[in-house]
């Protein structure tokens, strides 16, 4: 194979020059970065179910927005926040997951209702569920960037309390941090990430991007900051590879994203098991009481 054909294979025509692909690269990278950041806290707090339920519940908002002729992004934001709020109000110690499940099914039931009375066109629903990365408009890219920058700013501002409350809730309370407030900040972060990610990766798969890389990184990174950086890097890398594969094969991007995330997690697990076999002590994150 000559070098020209290798380059032609790696960079198929149009992958960087077509307008919709440019939008996809920018929005995809932004979404991967915030998924890595928010996912770090999701994994640390053992809140995968919330990370699944909020984007999925926000899907109902998109269906409702289509029904009344409003912007999907607005519908997503409203329902993501409402789902988070519902979970925050109803959660109670061990019954955490029950509250999440009930809020999720109620939101989905409403979504089903909107779909059935609204004659929403089926491919539109499909792309909301599974993502339509090549269908992103300039305006959507703008909003995704605004939301992403807000998330980064909030995390930078509240990093210490968020981390402390996620790792050792009891000590954090003693030190005068308000657990309910920090819970609320976390849930708002998840809602914001869901709003930005759902139009790009879909309601079902924004969850893969949030949980997979962060879970793998939490196994590998010894310090919180390292783990977060690793998670962001892995999320961005898997999104880029997935975008490329999806461009070449025209298969749905969500499949590639979630397969790469699973691969990263399994490799990290195997790596950890080997390292443990050699008698090394694991990093601080692994033993954290959550």
């Amino acid at each position: 194979m000559s070098s020209g054909s290798v380059l032609g294979f790696l960079f198929p025509p149009g992958i960087f020059t077509l307008a919709f692909m440019q939008n996809a690269w920018v929005a995809g990278t932004a979404v991967a970065v915030i998924s890595g950041i928010v996912g770090f806290f999701v994994v640390l707090r053992g809140s995968s179910f919330v990370a699944h339920a909020v984007p999925r519940g926000s899907f109902a908002g998109a269906a409702g927005a289509v029904l009344i002729g409003q912007s999907t992004l607005l519908g997503l934001a409203v329902f993501a926040l409402m789902s988070s709020l519902g979970i925050a109000v109803m959660r109670r110690g061990r019954e955490n997951t029950v509250a999440t499940a009930l809020v999720l099914v109620a939101a989905l039931g409403l979504g089903d209702f909107f779909l059935s009375i609204g004659n929403v066109y089926a491919p539109e629903v499909f792309s909301l569920l599974f993502g339509q990365i090549v269908g992103i408009s300039r305006q959507q890219v703008f909003w995704v960037l605004v939301i992403s920058l807000t998330i980064v700013a909030v995390v930078a501002f509240a990093y210490r309390p968020l981390l402390a409350q996620s790792v050792t809730p009891e000590t954090a309370q003693v030190r005068g941090l308000r657990p309910r407030l920090i819970d609320a900040i976390f849930l708002v972060l998840v809602s914001a990430a869901a709003t930005a990610t759902v139009p790009v990766a879909g309601a079902l798969l924004s969850f893969s991007l949030m949980v997979g890389p962060a879970a793998a990184a939490s196994l590998l990174g010894r310090r919180p900051a390292t783990a977060m950086a690793l998670g962001v890097g892995m999320a961005a890398l898997s999104l880029w590879i997935a975008l490329w594969l999806s461009y070449v094969t025209s298969w749905p991007i969500g499949f590639f994203v979630s397969s790469l995330c699973l691969l990263a997690y399994v490799v990290a697990r195997l790596f950890i098991t080997r390292r443990q076999g050699h008698g090394k002590v694991l990093g601080s994150l692994e033993g954290a009481p959550l």
């Binding site: 053992g46 995968s48 997951t97 999440t100 009930l102 099914v105 969850f207 949980v211 749905p252 997690y265």
Partner: protein, 312 residues
């Protein structure tokens, strides 16, 4: 009075064969979901229960592509994911992540399979039907299989009832008394997969979670005794599914369109409403009745009951 009767028992309800099938299948699915659901609540496995319903859709899409019965697709996807979740995550926190990673992968796979279906058949409606399902479009031919699966899941629960309760509540005590938590966890997973997949098959992944979590969570608010919780959960589940079916039948004449509101909307709303009412009601009742410190933990009270029952 007459109006109310007309509303609760609208003319022609029982003459409609779709409604009859929905009643029979819905009843069977609701009973299995409620019985298994009580243990899902006690064990804190709501996420696994929901995830198993979602992965069923992947199996259904796969079964559709290779042309076998959807039931086998649901069960195959459920069992493989259930085993993967159990073996990847043994500790509580790991279980959350393991469930998440497996679910994420299966959702990605379903994106691919549904893409193949929509490109080969040219319709995007099939994926939506698989994801949401509808009680009114169930094929009556699968009624015997559904009844058999309900019986099987309840049989498994009945067989391991005492030790399961024991290990769910106090893992340490159970271990001392020679109960293998690992084996019980696996057997419970089998019952859970059967109950979730049969309901995901007939009512869709969405409703299967509602029927698994809703009635059991409501029942556990009121009574801490496992046996009464199970009976109450079954009663609530039956009430919800019957009322849901009747409301959906009534709604054919409601605005804005004359083709009915989805039954899943009614059942999920009823589930949330019942849960909130029960929770609010019991907390007010308890507050009034006594001034001693409230014990809200489900596990501690169930624990005392389980020990009182077995240790004598």
């Amino acid at each position: 009075m007459n109006y109310l009767w007309q509303w609760l028992w609208p003319p022609g309800l029982w003459a409609n064969s779709d409604v009859r099938t929905a009643f029979f299948i819905g009843t069977s699915v609701a009973i299995a979901g409620a019985v298994v659901g009580v243990f899902v609540i006690i064990r804190g496995q709501a996420f696994s229960g929901h995830a198993l319903g979602d992965v069923g859709a992947t199996g259904a899409a796969g079964a559709y592509l290779i042309g076998i019965s959807a039931l086998w697709g649901f069960l195959a996807a459920g069992f493989s994911s259930g085993i993967a979740m159990e073996s990847l995550g043994d500790r509580v926190r790991e279980r959350d992540i393991a469930t998440g990673v497996v679910l994420a992968f299966m959702l990605g796979l379903s994106a691919l399979l549904l893409y193949f279906i929509s490109t080969s058949t040219g319709t995007a409606g099939a994926p939506i039907a698989i994801l949401f399902g509808s009680l009114f479009t169930v094929n009556p031919a699968i009624t015997p299989e559904v009844f058999a699966l309900t019986a099987l899941s309840i049989l498994i629960i009945a067989l391991i009832y005492r030790p399961l309760l024991f290990s769910s509540v106090t893992a340490e005590v159970a271990r001392v008394r020679g109960v293998s938590a690992r084996l019980l966890g696996l057997m419970f997973m089998v019952a859970l997969v059967i109950a979730v997949e049969e309901s995901a098959l007939v009512v869709g992944a969405l409703l299967s979670t509602a029927l698994l979590i809703g009635p059991a969570a409501s029942a556990v608010q009121v009574t801490r005794k496992p046996t009464s919780a199970i009976f109450l959960a079954v009663l609530i589940a039956l009430g919800q599914i019957w009322l849901g079916i009747i409301l959906a039948y009534d709604s054919f004449f409601w605005p804005p369109v004359d083709r009915g509101w989805p039954v899943s909307f009614f059942i999920t709303s009823l589930a949330l409403l019942t849960y909130l009412t029960m929770r609010l009601g019991t907390s007010i009742w308890r507050h009034r009745r006594s001034r001693r410190p409230r014990t809200t933990s489900t596990s501690s009270l169930v624990a005392s009951d389980a020990q009182g029952g077995t240790l004598t």
